[in-house]
Symmetry: C2
Subunit: 226 residues, 2 copies
């Protein structure tokens, strides 16, 4: 089971799970993110990879708030690239990965799926706490203590993080090797009504830098790149 947002990281994660021979199921969340257009990207990515099932779940994270991604707070633009990762930005969504992984854990139990893939990475990222290895390990332990099948010994859940030590450029190069078409992915936090990327939010900046450093042409159409 692959957590699939529709961005570069989760699409690459899915491609890695595929080449590693896993039977693919994908899980995507509509959490009232301002860039809900990424769900369409996730559907395109899932279709292209030939996943068996792709579930999209609607979660009321907007009711909880606390993030620029789920409220009217402004999305920061034109950050200095070297400062990304030093401070946790306002696009941080409280407990997002814990919520996402807990649903993955539930569906994994129903399907009898032992392997959950999540495209977190601890380099070239936005400084989110729930992307770090120690967090992932703690969640994995919780999952194995918290379901019927894991406690009864029928299932041992493993959380795979194949991108965790890669830079964005390395991720992109790996995806290109695997034949991934990044033009179907979406990263931008603040797309225009047509779904085009802004080119200036943290997520766009990391994406653009990744393609540049990977030496791969960026297939994204930006409405406001400077």
């Amino acid at each position: 089971m692959v957590l699939l947002s529709g961005g570069i990281d989760s699409a690459t994660c899915l491609a890695i799970a595929k080449v590693d021979g896993y039977h693919l199921n994908a899980l995507t969340f509509h959490y009232h993110q301002r860039h809900a257009v990424e769900i369409e990207a996730a559907k395109r990515v899932a279709r292209a990879a030939g996943v068996a099932r792709h579930m999209v779940l609607d979660l009321p994270l907007g009711q909880i708030g606390g993030s620029a991604l789920t409220s009217d707070m402004e999305v920061p633009k034109d950050a200095k690239l070297e400062s990304l990762g030093n401070r946790i930005p306002v696009t941080y969504v409280p407990a997002r990965n814990t919520i996402f992984l807990s649903f993955a854990m539930a569906w994994a139990e129903v399907l009898g799926a032992a392997d959950i893939f999540i495209g977190v990475n601890a380099l070239d990222y936005s400084g989110y706490p729930d992307c770090r290895p120690e967090y992932i390990e703690a969640f994995e332990k919780t999952a194995n203590l918290g379901t019927k099948k894991t406690v009864e010994g029928e299932l041992m859940i493993r959380i795979h993080t194949p991108l965790i030590t890669l830079t964005k450029a390395q991720i992109i190069r790996r995806g290109v090797e695997l034949g991934l078409d990044y033009s179907v992915t979406h990263s931008c936090y603040d797309p225009d009504p047509a779904g085009r990327a802004c080119g200036r939010c943290d997520s766009c900046l990391l994406r653009r830098k990744g393609f540049l450093e990977a030496g791969v042409p960026d297939p994204t159409s930006y409405y406001d790149s400077r």
Copy 2:
């Protein structure tokens, strides 16, 4: 913050948090449980306790399935009381407490609330794996590694389980001492259209046994008690 289902345990948990002097927020989930009538009970309990805020979140657990509580599977009746807790029953909902606690963790971060109360108990329960102390400890660790405020040292989340070593009778006696009116609570997994309890599902059996052993008159109206 108190996770409030509207049953005996969570209502008692709320009463304990109140007498302990906490500022009260309550969190309830509509997860397409067949006994969604418990949400009305949760609202009555929250109102009676005077909670500051009571959030009800809608979660798509029915889409994931795997439980008699969120699907058309039949709810077991007339189980032998002494066998409850020996096997995990079909009313088990995959990863339910992990999902609930992950939303509590998110809202706790937004509110700056350090204390999360959950009415799990490891005695007189239905054998659910996510009610055990080792599970709760693992989740607490995950929570403290997984949010901005906990990682930055602004918040240390503590999961309180004041009922974990109590029997149902002890829980009821504690609630009665605290002036709790259990007639506003709801336990039954299989209520009739009027919201009355069946009297025969595991949850009703534990409730009835609890009142009996506590020597407290059971205020519940059952439509099918034998």
